[in-house]
Symmetry: C2
Subunit: 143 residues, 2 copies
DNA sequence: TTGCTCCTCACGTCACGTGAGGTGGC
DNA sequence: TTGCTCCTCACGTCACGTGAGGTGGC
């Protein structure tokens, strides 16, 4: 989207982000990724390094949290809103407004962390169970 | 399946395992769950506490590891093979054979642990990033 | 008997995979 | 020009969701 960065085609973006061209087109179709500019029908989609980061982040949230694309859209929108707030924070002088913005960001981060921590805790429990079984087998091997 | 335990119907099993009756029927259809005995067509499926444990474990692996049902089937079959080996271990006297069985169990656990640890590590990285952002916001709030 | 849950089709949906046939050019 | 990747349909698949119409009984 940026005019300065070197342009990537859809296959390269897919490889960089660990997915497929079909998936990228589908995400664009349902509005999870923005339309790639005013592109005459049949013309190639072009992306930049920022798009790579953005898509990587989306794929990571999807895989680690196991959310639907609808929920993922909400998360991404919330993330965009947070970016907009951050921009406003830089512009604004009023201390009260700045404090408000920070508190909102904090709330958002807390919700995200809650989701991630719950999942991480479940995974740790599974890992502990497997490790315990492994220890029992090793103890028997020594006997 | 056991004759002694109190029988559950499909809806109860679904509630206990955190899924739906439709999902259980589908898993039976594709062979991920065993057919519920010789059941005359139209008759209710019946389950016991062991089935609850089994299905809970399946749902947990599915959600935490994000594997396809085909891969999940492999995992469950490997788990069954492990259970069979454990039974053989109890029966068998020969020290060499017992050792072989333990080594096979160890290899299986190592593969499972590898999968779980990789995912746990990714989740920890995401958690750390979010936590770092949270700390930055809190530091600004104090300023 | 009345409710409630269950049964079996069977079509719908979500998130893509996979050609078919054609066009573009970091 | 020749390859390679891209384009847009459009149908297929996986993992279920959701009725429709009917039967069972921990």
């Amino acid at each position: 989207m940026s005019a300065t960065a070197p342009a990537l085609r859809i296959g390269e973006l897919a490889r960089e982000a660990g997915t497929t061209a079909r998936t990228i087109r589908y995400y664009e179709e349902i509005g999870l990724l923005p339309d790639t500019g005013q592109r005459p029908a049949g013309r190639h989609r072009l992306y930049d390094a920022g798009d790579v980061e953005r898509l990587r982040e989306i794929m990571r949230l999807k895989e680690l949290l196991g959310v639907s694309l609808e929920e993922l859209k909400q998360l991404v929108e919330a993330e965009d809103a947070r970016a907009a707030l951050r921009a406003e924070f830089e512009r604004v002088e009023d201390a009260g407004r700045r404090r408000e913005i920070l508190l909102e960001a904090l709330g958002h981060l807390d919700r995200q962390l809650e989701l991630v921590r719950r999942r991480a805790a479940e995974l740790r429990r599974l890992e502990a169970e497997l490790a315990a079984r492994r220890r029992r087998v090793r103890a028997r091997l020594r006997a």
